[in-house]
């Protein structure tokens, strides 16, 4: 696995406000960097810039590396970044297994089926293989969403407030599941809840630009 490196990132809104100025950081494999800050501080914009989906009207300059590979002109679909958002976005027209298959790279059918069964069993979701996502609980949905990201074999994982919609009891359970599942990847976590941050994480606090 390779480190995720950002150099001198500057993001400015159309009316001139700078969300971040010359921001640089590196996340080594197995490490978590927690990006904290109030709403509007630019956390999600940084994430969107990394994935290559930042709105065109927002100006951004900086360098992005995955190991020695520059991701600057690489389209989103070729960046090999896993993404989990606040909402799980399980595709409603696919079953749980189909959602996971959608994440898997193409290959031998039997092998793919086996991978799905194994990952569902490991996550304690074996019985839900053919379930409709609409019938799952919040915690089950979060786990399936994370599994889908991991099955696409990403080189880094980006988490945008992934626990915010869960109730407090479930939150702790899913946090543990998440940190356990992605312990070999560089992980960028965006949150405004300190309890979300694992003990081994580094923390970067952004300021409120409108304060």
């Amino acid at each position: 696995m390779n480190a995720l490196r950002i150099e001198q990132l500057t993001i400015s809104l159309p009316h001139g406000v700078k969300l971040c100025d010359q921001l640089s950081f590196t996340i080594e494999p197995g490490r978590v960097l927690a990006l904290m800050g109030p709403s509007g501080s630019g956390k999600s914009s940084i994430l969107s810039w990394i994935t290559g989906t930042l709105a065109t009207e927002i100006n951004a300059t900086g360098k992005l590396w995955l190991g020695d590979v520059s991701l600057e002109n690489v389209p989103t679909e070729k960046r090999r970044l896993g993404l989990m958002l606040q909402q799980d976005y399980l595709f409603p027209h696919m079953s749980v297994a189909q959602n996971l298959k959608f994440g898997l790279q193409s290959g031998d059918k039997a092998e793919r089926e086996q991978k799905i069964s194994e990952s569902l069993s490991n996550a304690g979701l074996a019985a839900l293989q053919n379930a409709n996502p609409a019938t799952l609980s919040g915690g089950q949905r979060s786990r399936v969403s994370l599994l889908r990201s991991l099955l696409s074999e990403p080189c880094a994982l980006l988490l945008d407030e992934p626990f915010a919609r869960l109730d407090s009891q479930l939150r702790q359970q899913i946090r543990e599941f998440t940190w356990d599942a992605c312990k070999e990847l560089p992980v960028l976590l965006v949150t405004h809840d300190k309890a979300d941050i694992p003990v081994h994480a580094d923390v970067l606090e952004l300021i409120d630009h409108y304060a």
Binding site: T53, E77, K78, L85, Q87, Y89, F91, K101, Q105, R148
Partner: protein
């Protein structure tokens, strides 16, 4: 009308009362408390006013087709129809033009979504859609002829420097025998309708987030659309697509202007029967065949949907990411933009011709301009303009009242949702309903009356108004009502001072759509008006080919201007009101 025709009609009308009885039983709860009696009665009134002409229309078409009204429609309609050598070619042409146009509309919509969404062109495209939708069919058809005819604007743009033509070529004619001009016109008119319906679904489907997820999972943008977004979007735009298919199969005014003459489309052939003595039974039989054919095509589309869904399901599981070819998206983008530009050019061409004094071939622009077609032909313009405005005014106000009555009754729990009913006139060919309605109006001696034509406009505009308004009406937070009620406001005060002002934007948009639909109505005015109500739609269609090109252009521009003005007002008034409130 003789007694046998009346007794035939009486027999035929019996199932209508049974149907209406069932409909009201479905819509109205079994027990109605006294405070809900008024909304229930008003809502039943709306349903009866709306569904009675539909049932009478259908019955008045079915009965003559099967020889049940021999005095009005003698002979065996089906036999007459099959004896006409034009019937089968007309049916084939109708299926060809209707199906191909609908497929192209769907293709245009998908291409626009996949290739333009998230580009700088997308906003431009969305801004161009409402004005394009507002242009009446007949006006667009005339503009298209001015654009693609051998002496049209496109040829002029490239002549003589590229084509070396000093005179209009004689290699092709518009309308062409294959029906391709008609297909082009239908695509230009209906594609904005489907694209607007699809664009309205994008925020509800969280398309931005789905694209983000799909892309970060490694799928190309086109694959994200085909595997994630389109499968969830299609069920939401399916009804609109069916409405478009129904329209494309049964259109009359555009087919008269852009369709071939021999054979014409089935609707045009049937319309010619109505004007021929002794062919009314054949006209009814043909209208029935058209409706049945349409139903069969709906079933075929539904079967195809299942097949495609099964194949798509298998492909989705393969994990193939796609190559993300930028070339495909570029080609798609330019195709969509070219078609949109053509639609805009048709209107520009109409506008230019309406101010032209002399425009020799191959000049790109008129040699001399004049305003005399506008100012000097008031004899030709004013009466149709006035007639059109009166019908549009009546339709927009009467449909708004009816829609509010129904939606309020629904909100109060006095009636249940019956959205399927409002779609009925959109799914049955106009010709199938109107032949019967015309027969009934002949029997009751109401044909040619202003109110009969206005009633038909009301029936054809009400579905759009109810369906547009229903979304906003049902979604408005009930706490607004509660907040006003606890302050002591009664029912009417809450309705007029709270609900309607809060919903002013959709209310005005629905009224603008009502005006646009009414202004474009050709067949109801032609069949029920008995030639006494010459609206702009009637004038544009009947003048085409026989009157000076510049005068037709003026009529078509005038017809387009009305909905455009009303749509602009519908945008401007709420914005002005908001500004006033802020200041």
């Amino acid at each position: 009308m003789g007694s046998s025709a009346r007794s035939g009609m009486d027999r035929a009308l019996r199932p209508i009362s049974v149907f209406l009885d069932k409909l009201i039983t479905e819509a109205v709860p079994h027990t109605v408390s006294s405070d809900r009696a008024l909304p229930v009665l008003a809502a039943i009134g709306v349903v009866l006013l709306f569904s009675t002409p539909l049932l009478i229309g259908l019955t008045g078409t079915i009965a003559p087709a099967f020889g049940l009204m021999p005095e009005l429609a003698p002979g065996n309609g089906f036999a007459q129809l099959l004896e006409d050598p034009r019937f089968l070619p007309a049916l084939k042409l109708t299926i060809k033009t209707g199906v191909i146009a609908t497929l192209l509309v769907l293709l245009f919509t998908v291409l626009a979504l996949v290739c333009l969404h998230k580009t700088a062109w997308w906003r431009w495209m969305l801004a161009a859609l409402p004005p394009l939708l507002a242009i009446p069919h007949a006006a667009l058809a005339v503009g298209l002829v001015f654009l693609v005819a051998p002496s049209g604007w496109i040829v002029r743009l490239f002549s003589p420097w590229l084509t070396s033509w000093d005179r209009p070529p004689s290699d092709w004619v518009v309308p062409d025998a294959g029906g391709w001009s008609l297909i082009a016109g239908l695509v230009m008119k209906e594609a904005p309708f489907l694209l607007l319906a699809a664009a309205a679904q994008l925020p509800r489907l969280n398309v931005d987030a789905l694209l983000k997820i799909g892309l970060t999972l490694g799928y190309s943008p086109a694959r994200c659309w085909s595997r994630l977004i389109l499968p969830t979007m299609y069920p939401r735009i399916r009804l609109t697509l069916f409405v478009i298919l129904a329209f494309n199969l049964s259109v009359v005014d555009m087919a008269l202007l852009l369709g071939p003459g021999n054979p014409p489309t089935l609707s045009v052939l049937l319309l010619s029967y109505v004007n021929e003595p002794g062919f009314r039974a054949a006209a009814s039989a043909g209208a029935l065949i058209l409706a049945v054919g349409m139903a069969v095509l709906f079933v075929v589309v539904m079967l195809l949907e299942r097949l495609i869904a099964r194949l798509a399901n298998q492909r989705r599981e393969s994990g193939h990411r796609g190559h993300g070819s930028g070339l495909f998206r570029q080609i798609g983008k330019y195709l969509v933009l070219a078609l949109t530009l053509c639609s805009i050019l048709t209107i520009v061409a109409l506008l230019l011709w309406s101010f032209t004094q002399r425009w020799r071939f191959p000049s790109v622009l008129p040699d001399t301009f004049t305003s005399r077609h506008w100012l000097g032909r008031s004899d030709l313009l004013l009466d149709p303009l006035l007639a059109t405005i009166l019908f549009a005014l009546f339709s927009s106000i009467a449909t708004l009242v009816a829609a509010v009555v129904w939606l309020e009754a629904e909100r109060l729990g006095a009636v249940k949702k019956i959205d399927w009913l409002w779609y009925v006139p959109l799914f049955i060919p106009q010709i199938t309903l109107l032949f019967g309605w015309q027969a009934a109006s002949l029997i009751s001696a109401t044909d040619g009356l202003w109110i009969t034509v206005a009633y038909a406009h009301w029936v054809y505009t009400l579905p759009y108004v109810v369906l547009i308004l229903a979304v906003a009406w049902r979604e408005l937070d009930p706490n607004w009502n509660n907040a006003a009620s606890v302050l002591g406001a009664g029912y009417w005060k809450v309705l007029f001072r709270i609900r309607l002002p809060l919903l002013i934007k959709p209310v005005l948009q629905a009224m603008a759509v009502a005006v646009a639909v009414s202004v474009a109505q050709y067949l109801p005015t032609a069949l029920l008006g008995a030639g006494r109500h010459n609206t702009l739609a009637i004038e544009v269609v009947t003048s085409f080919g026989g009157v000076d090109r510049r005068v037709i252009a003026t009529l078509a521009v005038l017809q387009s201007l009305l909905p455009l003005i009303v749509f602009s007002l519908a945008l401007f008034i709420p914005a002005a009101m908001q500004q006033k409130q802020r200041s």
